[in-house]
Structure formats: structure tokens, C-alpha cells
């Protein structure tokens, strides 16, 4: 079957079997390997992508279900050389060690800040509760998302200033 999705702002139309999982579609058919496969059982969240802006576990979606919808992967976060505030937050606050969970954590953080620009630490912990970090780096992940919230708030106050790369 043919599946057409808008991936990181670009429309892609690819043939695949109906049984193709969204994560395999993204990694193998689209060549975007920033989306990781961790547990492959919808427990860990390493495969998180945004589907129409909402975080989902792409190991537990069929590619066919994403047809006609917008998919955002970690590769879609940066705008050219400018990091997304959430990426900058993970950089500055050392929000990663091995980096395997990081794409999922950042995408969940990005979606959270769209809905709730000023979250409490508890709200961040709640939002990332479906994503597992085996380096146990949750403290810095929470700080990283708070950093992104602060950056976005500052950018909103001074819209002329683009989000810088630190």
C-alpha cells in the first residue's frame, strides 16, 4: 500500500506493507534514524514521535494509521543551525548521558510546552512518565525542559531576538 505523510514539514509518499510499524517506516523507509527502537513493547518511549503535534509511541502505531497526518521526529526540531529551545535546554542542562531516550524526551517536552508553557516540575515528570531514561538522568531532563520553557518565555517577550545556539 502507499502511505503519504508530512514528515518534518515535507510530504513523503512511500510504498510499504500494511503491517509496517510507524517506527520502521520512519527509520527504514524514510531513513530518519533519530527515532529509536528501545523496548519495542510500548513501555520505554524511545520511539516517541509527534503525530499532528501529539506524542505517541511509534512502535505501537501502523504506518497506515499515520497516512495523511503530520509526523515530527527529532530531526524536525532544529531550524537550520538554530536549535529548538528544548534541544538547547538539554544541551545546557546536560539533560542526557547516553542519549538513547533523548529524542523521545525532547519531543514530549516540546509537546508539553505547546500545551502548558509554564509547567511545574511535577507536571513535567507527569508528562515524561511514559518515557524511560536508563541513565536515570531525570533530574536534568526536568531542568532541561524548564530551561526550554524559560527560553521560550524570553523569546515571546522579545520577538525580535531569535533563539540562539549556545
Amino acid at each position: 500500500m502507499n502511505v503519504t505523510v508530512e514528515v518534518n514539514g515535507v510530504e513523503k509518499s512511500v510504498d510499504c506493507e500494511p503491517r509496517t510499524l510507524l517506527v520502521d517506516f520512519i527509520r527504514t523507509k524514510l531513513g530518519l534514524t533519530g527515532t529509536h527502537i528501545g523496548c519495542d513493547t510500548s513501555n520505554c518511549g524511545a520511539c516517541t514521535v509527534l503525530l499532528d503535534g501529539t506524542p505517541v509511541k511509534s512502535c505501537t502505531q501502523l504506518a497506515a494509521m499515520a497516512g495523511g497526518r503530520k509526523v515530527t521526529t527529532v530531526e524536525g526540531l532544529a531550524q537550520g543551525a538554530a536549535l529548538d529551545p528544548v534541544q538547547e535546554g538539554f544541551h545546557v542542562e546536560h539533560g542526557l548521558q547516553c542519549g538513547f531516550c533523548t529524542p523521545g524526551m525532547m519531543l514530549v517536552g516540546k509537546a508539553l510546552l505547546e500545551d502548558n508553557p509554564n509547567p511545574t516540575d511535577d507536571e513535567i515528570r507527569w508528562a515524561i512518565s511514559g518515557n524511560i531514561c536508563r541513565c536515570t538522568g531525570y533530574m536534568n531532563i526536568v531542568k532541561a525542559i524548564q530551561h526550554a520553557a524559560a527560553t521560550k518565555a524570553a523569546v515571546k517577550e522579545q520577538p525580535a531576538e531569535p533563539a540562539g545556539v549556545s
Binding site: 500500500m1 506493507e17 500494511p18 503491517r19 509496517t20 510499524l21 520502521d24 519495542d40 513493547t41 510500548s42 513501555n43 518511549g45 516517541t48 501529539t54 506524542p55 505517541v56 509511541k57 505501537t60 502505531q61 501502523l62 497506515a64 494509521m65 497516512g67 514530549v108 507527569w126 508528562a127 512518565s129 511514559g130 518515557n131
Partner: protein
């Protein structure tokens, strides 16, 4: 892991979906959010030859109420039930249970109807449906029938639904103005794990402060979600009291039929039922009493 090969159909209308199911029967499987079905496909516990994705059919999701009945579209996602503030004070048990289902990412996709029909004995919605005496609207190409939640759950992953039917709407009696309260207590080892034990409680209080009716559903302590009928009967018409809760909780624990497994012994799980029902009744009655004060 990846599923065995299947054909895929994404009908645009319910009638089209029902026609396909009528033709293919047991060989076809309905896909809603996929948060239970896709893991089963990947493990190859399920190997249907055809997947009928109802995700593109309009009109199957949303929460509304009419003439004292709350109607929840079967494809309403857990997160949308979580956010359905109009249920506050009417069906608190749904609002209490929704955020405890799996994790936020699963709740972004998984649906209430999918969970009900999947009928995992460790699933949360079944117990809630039993507590609130929900009715399921089941449609097939031949017509429509109403199935009460009581009796719908027949065994692990087994319900009264036929292969050619789709659950379209969940109907819950909820007279406006009634003093109701609800609670959902769940023990899980970690977020996203299945329940070790969970209990759903829904109470309606009369003007005299007595319990008009109480509903109690149990999760993960039997081959399917269990309705604790003897406990419910013991509560009806009674004045709320600590002693009454203790007696009802004892009866609810007696209705549980848990197995010993890695999450705990049968004896332990029965006792958790007792403790949770006791707490659940206390919390639910407190909410119901607060609703009018």
C-alpha cells in the same frame, strides 16, 4: 517484532465498516487506537487476515449527555475522558480512572471502546463500566442492540460482542442533579504497568443522605473485570458509616478470584481489594456529600 501479514482497510463510514465485518467475520479485526491490538499483533497472539481501521470514521468520539444519560463515543481517547470536565460531580469514577491508565503517551492514542472490547482482565475501564452500570451500543450490518456491562465481560479477552459488531457508544445513566461520587484506587508497580489490583466505586446519595445505590467494579482479580454485587446490595439504602464500608469491603474481597503471580499472592490481592474498596467508598461518599454543600 512485527505483525504477521494482513490486509488493511480504512473505511470512511460506519456502514462500510459494518459491511466489511459482516463479510469477513472472525477473520477481520477492528482497529481503533491500537494500543492493545498492535502489541497483540506484534506478539502474534492475534493474526487476523484483515484489519479494519475505524480511525477515519467520523462521529465515533466525544462525550455528551442527553436526558439523564451520558454518552461516550467508543473511539474517545483516554486523554479526552481525562479532560471531560462535564463529568465532574456526575461520574467522578471515570475522571479518577482515566489518568491512571497506562502512561500519557498511550492515553493520547488508546480509546475507551477499544479497551472495553479488548477486555483484558487487568484493564481499568471494564471495572468502571461495571460500577456505573454502563450500556454498550453494538452495531452490525443487521442492526443495533444494547448490551449491559453486567454480563458483557465473559473471560480473559472475551466479551459478548460478535465478530461482525462494532461498539459505537457507551451509555451511562446519570440523572442530572443527583448527588454522586466516585473513586478509582489502583496499585501498580510502576506507571504503565498493569494493575496489581484496582477498584472502581460509584455511589449515589439520596436527599436523606442514605446511599441510594452503589456500584463496585474490580480489576485484575479474576478472569475478567468483576462486579461486586453482594457488596453493592449491602450498601443500598444504608446510612454511610465506617462499619458499613468495612462490611461492604469484606464482601467485595470475597467476590474477588485472584491468582498468585509475580505481582502478589492471591491472599494479598484479596486484602488489597478490601482496603481499596473501604477507601474508595469513603472517598466516593465524601465527594457525593460535597457536591451539594
Amino acid at each position: 517484532m512485527f505483525p504477521a501479514a494482513f490486509d488493511y482497510s480504512a473505511p470512511a463510514t460506519l456502514d462500510e465498516a459494518l459491511a466489511i465485518l459482516g463479510e469477513h467475520g472472525d477473520d477481520a479485526k477492528v482497529l481503533a487506537g491500537g494500543q492493545s491490538l498492535i502489541p497483540l499483533l506484534k506478539l502474534r497472539f492475534a493474526q487476523p487476515s484483515l484489519i479494519v481501521d475505524i480511525g477515519r470514521i467520523p462521529g465515533l468520539s466525544g462525550v455528551d449527555s442527553e436526558n439523564g444519560t451520558v454518552r461516550i463515543g467508543s473511539r474517545t481517547r483516554h486523554r479526552d475522558v481525562e479532560a471531560a470536565s462535564q463529568l465532574r460531580g456526575r461520574l467522578d469514577v471515570l475522571l479518577a480512572a482515566a489518568p491512571q491508565i497506562s502512561d500519557p503517551l498511550i492515553r493520547n492514542v488508546g480509546t475507551i471502546g477499544g479497551s472495553v472490547v479488548h477486555a483484558d482482565p487487568q484493564g481499568d475501564w471494564g471495572a468502571v463500566m461495571l460500577a456505573v452500570d454502563a450500556e454498550f451500543v453494538l452495531r452490525s450490518a443487521k442492526g443495533e442492540r444494547i448490551g449491559p456491562a453486567d454480563g458483557f465481560f465473559q473471560g480473559p479477552f472475551t466479551t459478548a460482542i460478535s465478530p461482525d459488531e462494532v461498539l459505537t457508544t457507551i451509555r451511562i445513566p446519570s440523572p442530572s442533579g443527583a448527588r454522586t461520587g466516585g473513586s478509582y484506587h489502583k496499585m501498580e508497580r510502576k506507571i504503565g504497568d498493569f494493575a496489581t489490583v484496582a477498584t472502581a466505586v460509584h455511589v449515589v446519595l439520596g436527599d436523606d443522605g442514605r446511599i441510594t445505590r452503589a456500584g463496585i467494579g474490580l480489576t485484575a482479580v479474576g478472569p475478567h473485570n468483576i462486579k461486586a454485587k453482594e457488596a453493592e446490595a449491602a450498601l443500598a439504602g444504608q446510612e454511610p458509616s465506617t462499619e458499613l464500608y468495612a462490611e461492604a469491603a469484606r464482601l467485595a474481597a470475597a467476590a474477588a478470584e485472584p491468582n498468585s503471580d509475580i505481582r502478589g499472592t492471591a491472599e494479598y490481592k484479596k486484602d488489597v481489594v478490601r482496603v481499596f474498596v473501604q477507601r474508595g467508598l469513603r472517598d466516593a461518599v465524601k465527594r457525593a456529600q460535597g457536591a451539594n454543600s
